[in-house]
Symmetry: C2
Subunit: 234 residues, 2 copies
């Protein structure tokens, strides 16, 4: 076994790609998601009806059981979603609520998982968004949730953050990921400017193996041009 990783959102488009890739490289993988990923070695299910604190309690209990005394080399949080709406939108608040639950509940619980189960020197990745470096007037709730994830990443990089010794917390800030859903809803877009899921999975594995791992607290713009993807700390 190469190591142990947790993928939060392990049944989503990006998460499934990461689970498959890590399994193919002989990693033991636990998926945390609303639905089980049959490729994972273990699954901890999230109850979408539960409150934030109840989700935290249930996930931490499930993990204690599945991990026993084993520690994780990496916690990869790729849960999230997208919804729009400016201040004139009747569903702005409804969508902001959904974005918060999908991106921030997961990221904060991932931070708690890192505190409790990540190895010294381990890796935590969260998922922000490149557009949230500036105002996001057409998607206010999405921008708020991603700005919160960026803030959490910076907080986790500090000395007394509660992260294990010598561990690393970073966020990737994609523009558009090349997912089936994005292809469905934006069929005429320029796909050569979208980031392939496999590229993200391969980059995470590099960092997990200690190659070119970014400094803790880094917010990494993930930019794809002509099918070439770069991860750059601004």
């Amino acid at each position: 076994m190469a190591g142990r990783a947790l993928v939060y959102g392990g049944k989503g488009a990006l998460g499934s790609t990461i689970v498959s890739f890590l399994r193919s490289k002989n990693w033991w993988v636990v998926s945390v998601d609303l639905f089980a990923n049959e490729e994972a070695d273990s699954n901890v299910l999230v109850n979408p009806e539960a409150s934030w604190t109840s989700q935290e309690t249930e996930i931490l209990e499930g993990l204690s059981t599945t991990l026993s005394d084993n520690r994780l080399d990496a916690v990869l949080c790729v849960a999230g979603g997208w919804a729009g709406g400016n201040a004139a939108a009747a569903d702005m608040v409804k969508n902001a609520d959904l974005m918060w639950k999908q991106s921030v509940w997961s990221s904060a619980i991932a931070a708690r998982i890192a505190n409790l189960h990540l190895k010294d020197g381990g890796l935590l990745t969260l998922t922000g968004a490149r557009p949230a470096r500036e105002g996001t007037e057409g998607m206010m709730g999405y921008g708020m949730a991603k700005a919160a994830v960026h803030q959490l990443t910076k907080s986790l990089a500090a000395d007394k953050s509660g992260m294990p010794a010598n561990s690393t917390a970073v966020a990737i800030l994609p523009v558009t990921l090349d997912t089936p859903m994005n292809r469905k809803f934006m069929p005429n877009a320029d796909f050569s400017a979208w980031t392939p899921l496999q590229t993200v999975a391969e980059t995470f594995l590099q960092w997990m193996e200690g190659n070119d791992r970014p400094a803790s607290g880094s917010l990494l713009d993930v930019v794809t041009v002509d099918n070439q993807t770069t991860f750059t700390a601004a």
Copy 2:
């Protein structure tokens, strides 16, 4: 009557000071809060047990009734609170949930109020926090909520944000406000570095009257040194 203002959090320490001050200057004031402020001309009560969207619905209904066709000159959102906790804290998520509800639910609903009831050329103020310009490892949930408020402010300043024409959205970013609660819990602090509530109220009135109003989207550091307070866009 000098004008019409809404104070979200109008029964809190800062909110009460603002309500009193504006009433003394002949403004009509509606307070939105968990509890009624008897000094206000009108009160819309918030149900703390309700969801974000239910709070939005109830507050917007209450406002439609109390405002009728009158429009607001200013929406001042000063709701908020403080709670700590890093990733090692068992109550990190619980506190993050509370911070989100106090700061972000209120700010997002204030943005919806501005869309529906603020005059062209009106003023919306939100309340961020100076420390959330950097990582906030000892108060992760607070930092996430305030980063989201900063993001919302930037989003509201854009052309197609849903704000009324020529209106202004800014956030104040205090360090420590001189409230009774802060005096109680930090009795030995240097109060000459705390921002007096009256100073905030007077500054808001200046901006409401069109004097030295900051550019929309400004995040204004509120810094007090030797009892002198400055509001500075970084």
